[in-house]
């Protein structure tokens, strides 16, 4: 970490106008249209608004949970929740693909965080228009940050109120503090790379362009300041934060900022649970290398059970 900072500093001094384009292989997300997120081709398999645009009165009352993945990820990040829910019929899951994500690198590079957020608002708004009345939200990593921004920005003032909001490893403070320097140094480094496992390469961008890292830095700074000023949840809405206590992407202190900066409509503190885990987005275990431990599996099951029990209570 320290070496990388020194390297970036020296690179900034020596190569002030260097900008590179990454090389993709066909096995990488962004390298081939065959690897586009499947929700792009078959939204009805992922979005409840597309699958059931005309719900019966009973279906409209059933809990719907919109699940939102994180930065540089895809709908894959919440697939295990759908698998875990299996044949349950007491709630339904709507998996949103963030704007600019899951397609090609050019889209990813040019998308702002407002574009990332748009599909969440689109799905929420469509469900509301279609008559769904019991909607909850869950976000992982940057997905959670975007949900916080929507809460702070008053999006729900003119919409039906969400029943419950869940956050899995939200990022307000990055573990890698070099992100705070991305504005001046980003144009020098061009992009960063991520050590994905071979399987993850299909679902998570291997390259992170500095433009999108700047967007990430922008949105976490905006939300941090919103939390400083105070965020109040909509009436009767609950918030539960699950945060791994060791996380090399979203610093665990992110949970502290949310705890200090958010309150319910009655002024109560929100619910935060620290999880004994060193995985970022501990609810996504598929394709991890090394393989998840027994504790990791328990953490995932416990969180899914908690979410499902809460929205169906």
């Amino acid at each position: 970490m320290k070496k990388s900072i020194l390297f970036i500093f020296s690179a900034a001094l020596l190569f002030p106008a260097c900008k590179k384009d990454p090389k993709f292989t066909p096995d990488m997300l962004g390298g081939s249209s065959e690897l586009y997120d499947p929700s792009f081709y078959t939204p009805e398999k992922y979005l409840i608004s597309a699958a059931k645009p005309n719900p019966t009165p009973d279906e409209a009352k059933k809990p719907v949970i919109i699940v939102v993945h994180g930065y540089s990820a895809t709908t894959f990040e919440w697939n295990e929740f759908r698998t875990w829910a299996g044949g349950r019929t007491d709630f339904v899951i709507s998996q949103v693909l963030l704007g600019g994500h899951g397609l090609d690198y050019t889209n990813f590079k040019s998308a702002t965080w407002q574009i990332w957020k748009q599909p969440i608002m689109d799905e929420y708004s469509k469900l509301e228009q279609e008559g769904y009345t019991n909607i909850s939200l869950a976000g992982s990593s940057t997905g959670a940050t975007l949900l916080l921004e929507m809460l702070a920005d008053g999006y729900f003032n003119n919409h039906i109120k969400p029943r419950h909001v869940f956050m899995v490893d939200p990022i307000i403070i990055p573990a890698n503090k070099t992100l705070s320097l991305v504005d001046p140094l980003g144009p020098v480094i061009g992009y960063t790379t991520v050590d994905n496992s071979a399987g993850e390469e299909k679902y998570y961008f291997h390259y992170r362009p500095y433009e999108s890292l700047q967007q990430l830095n922008n949105v976490i700074n905006i939300v941090r300041k919103q939390l400083q000023d105070g965020v109040t949840l909509p009436a009767n809405c609950t918030l539960k934060v699950f945060k791994a206590d060791k996380d090399d992407t979203a610093d665990p202190v992110s949970a502290v900022l949310i705890y200090l900066g958010t309150k319910t409509s009655t002024g109560a503190k929100v619910n935060v649970q620290l999880i004994n885990s060193s995985l970022h987005v501990f609810t996504r275990l598929a394709l991890h290398d090394p393989a998840p431990t027994t504790q990791d599996v328990k953490n995932q099951t416990d969180a899914f059970t908690d979410i499902a029990n809460t929205i169906t209570y």
Binding site: I5, K177, G230
Partner: protein
């Protein structure tokens, strides 16, 4: 021209400003205003003892309580530092300087629930900048610094950020 004018003025001040009487065995006390890039304003007090013409020793306390956390939900965090400063051009009013700092950081997370998270840390940082001695016994320091110890999500305090800048305004109390 508009862009280079400030540089020309700065160069003029740097090259031609009049020599000042070198201060030895004097004590400057004052206020420090600090901002971590990407995080909080932390303000407080500082004292510098001018040991020789070139060397000064100092102590500083800065806190977000007097900065971003004042009246907000930001984390209340405190930094106590001891420092050693080397001054270049000690005979001049405008002095570039380099400073090494060692200290202790602690943050209040507001609930025992977070006791298991790292909330204290050693501080080891360097900063460099310029100091200007006015005719009044007032000195202004501007510097840019680098924190060698930061949190990484697994260890270290999460709200210790790597790069900061600061302004100090001090008064030579030995002139009182």
């Amino acid at each position: 021209m508009r862009k280079i004018l400030p540089l020309l003025i700065a160069a003029h001040i740097f090259a031609f400003c009049k020599p000042a009487a070198a201060q030895v065995h004097t004590f400057d006390v004052g206020l420090r205003f600090q901002k971590s890039i990407g995080l909080y304003y932390e303000n407080g007090v500082t004292g510098q003892y001018n040991l020789t013409r070139r060397w000064a020793l100092g102590v500083t306390y800065v806190t977000s309580r007097l900065g971003t956390a004042w009246g907000t939900n930001a984390i209340k965090q405190d930094n106590v530092l001891a420092s050693g400063t080397y001054k270049f051009r000690p005979a001049y009013a405008l002095q570039p300087f380099l400073r090494g700092n060692l200290g202790y950081f602690t943050a209040d997370y507001g609930s025992p629930m977070f006791d298991s998270l790292p909330h204290t840390s050693a501080i080891a940082s360097v900063d460099g900048g310029i100091s200007y001695q006015f005719k009044l016994p007032v000195k202004v320091n501007l510097s840019l610094g680098y924190n060698a110890i930061t949190g990484n999500g697994a260890s270290g305090a999460g709200t210790l950020y790597p790069v900061f800048y600061q302004l100090s305004v001090t008064y030579n109390i030995t002139k009182l």
